[in-house]
Amino acid sequence: MKSRTAFLAAAMLVANACGSDEPAAPDSITVFAAASLTESFIQIAADFEDQHGTKVRLSFGPSDGLATQIQEGAPADVFASASPKWMDAVAEDPGVTDRADFARNVLVVITPADNPAGLDSAEDLGRPGIKLVLAAEGVPVGDYAREFLGNAGIADDALANVVSNEDDVKGVVQKVALGEADAGIVYRTDVTAAVAGDVAVVEIPDDINVIAVYPIAALERSPGGSLAPEFVTYVLGPGQTVLREAGFLPP
């Protein structure tokens, strides 16, 4: 978390250092992507680098935090958000082009592998004494999780069980994988190979689940020239295979 703060500070510094009189080298682009896209975008960026011979710099975080950084002048060329809300904010200021939805995602409940609280279904999250960890309000997955709890009719009980509001979805995964929390609500795609052994998944029925829509766009002020729209096109094209393998649904 501290490194995220440090990053934010660094991003601001870089933003100020690379003023308009000193455009970034056109052979590299910077992609700001929602934390839930971490593994997929590392792969997609590597493939893109191989094909285009350009360097792709990646920065992951909560979509709301990334949107704020971009509005504060962070030198992003492409923004991939876990929610239309924060893409709308960036579209308004400082402006985007080539916007398109590129993936969808659903929520799951995760518990530590040994499921210490004995959760059988998503509705059990309202049971007294469960230690539930969510992403903070404003973070897309945090908002989606609260929407799902409302759909399930257990919002009041479940929210009373919340012991921590994490900064982004990866924070939720960590707290559960470390065994400190009994349950967390994350995207299905966050149950990656790296944590699959540490967590167990409790599926959420489709009728009460929430579908997250992921938009991507190039920043209007992108100093990367045509590279930014090319990266967007790449995510919408060849990148889809990677996203599908990670468990994302088609847009």
Binding site: K2, P62, G179, E180
Partner: protein
């Protein structure tokens, strides 16, 4: 008598002062003053200030409880491994706080080394205010250790010897002679420890999580606000700036004496 400094030193000193002033000026320039009243009386600010106060004072108390004895031990005792122990005692000053947080989880977390025994006693630290205070104490108690140890070095030991020669017990000498002589250093160390605890972020969010009214201290509230409402973050930041400045001014540079 004041000696004049070379101009180049003054110039770089001005740079140094500007280095500190500019970010504060930036906060002042950016703060949404028309929303200040509303933001300062918001739940986030009030709960954040309350939790910060409890956590930082609790951390300072915990730090005193273990930091003073450890400082005395390091300053007075002589045994193999002293150098290693001294380095260990200062480790939290150097470690990235997030590492401290992970360390605390592996020690006091549910699955940590002491997690089982602690739970048996009904003590659960992660996600509790007590846990946040432990995290803050962990990173701040070295300030007290340092202050006590350096205070001992400049202490006139003849006073202690005199008390002992008059028949005072070890405990009596410590209480009536040593600790009163060290009081200024201990106080300065405690204030620094408190200030460090007030600013704690990484170990807290890693070990204790982030929950308003429970573990969300002001720095955590600032960080959360920054993600979606930077204006609110600047106002909350200014609260911390004012509070910290007030403490430092009240202390009037006394801590400069520590370590000299």
């Amino acid at each position: 008598m004041r000696r004049r400094l070379p101009a180049v030193v003054v110039a770089f000193a001005a740079l140094g002062a500007a280095f500190v002033l500019l970010p504060v000026a930036g906060l002042l320039a950016r703060a949404p003053w028309e929303r200040t009243g509303e933001l300062l009386t918001s739940d986030v600010a009030i709960e954040g200030a309350r939790v910060s106060l409890i956590v930082s004072l609790g951390a300072a108390a915990l730090s005193l409880l273990v930091g003073v004895p450890l400082g005395l031990l390091l300053g007075r005792a002589s045994f193999p491994g002293l150098t290693v122990l001294r380095a260990l005692a200062l480790l939290p000053l150097v470690l990235p706080p997030v590492v401290a947080g992970i360390g605390l989880l592996t020690a006091f977390g549910r699955r940590g080394l002491l997690g089982g025994p602690a739970r048996a006693l009904g003590l659960e630290l992660p996600f509790t205010t007590a846990g946040a205070a432990i995290a803050a104490a962990f990173v701040s108690f070295p300030f007290i250790v340092l202050a006590v140890e350096s205070g001992l070095r400049s202490l006139d030991t003849r006073l202690e010897d005199a008390a002992a020669s008059l028949g005072a017990s070890k405990w009596y000498v410590l209480r009536k002679v040593t600790l009163p002589l060290l009081a200024p250093q201990i106080a300065a160390g405690a204030v620094l420890a408190w200030a460090r605890a007030l600013g704690e972020f990484g170990a807290t969010i890693t070990f204790a999580g982030n929950f308003r009214g429970e573990t969300q201290t002001m720095p955590l509230a600032v960080f959360e606000a920054l993600q979606s409402d930077p204006g609110a973050a600047t106002v909350l930041s200014l609260v911390l700036v004012v509070l910290s400045l007030a403490v430092l001014i009240a202390l009037r540079g006394r801590f400069v004496g520590v370590g000299s």
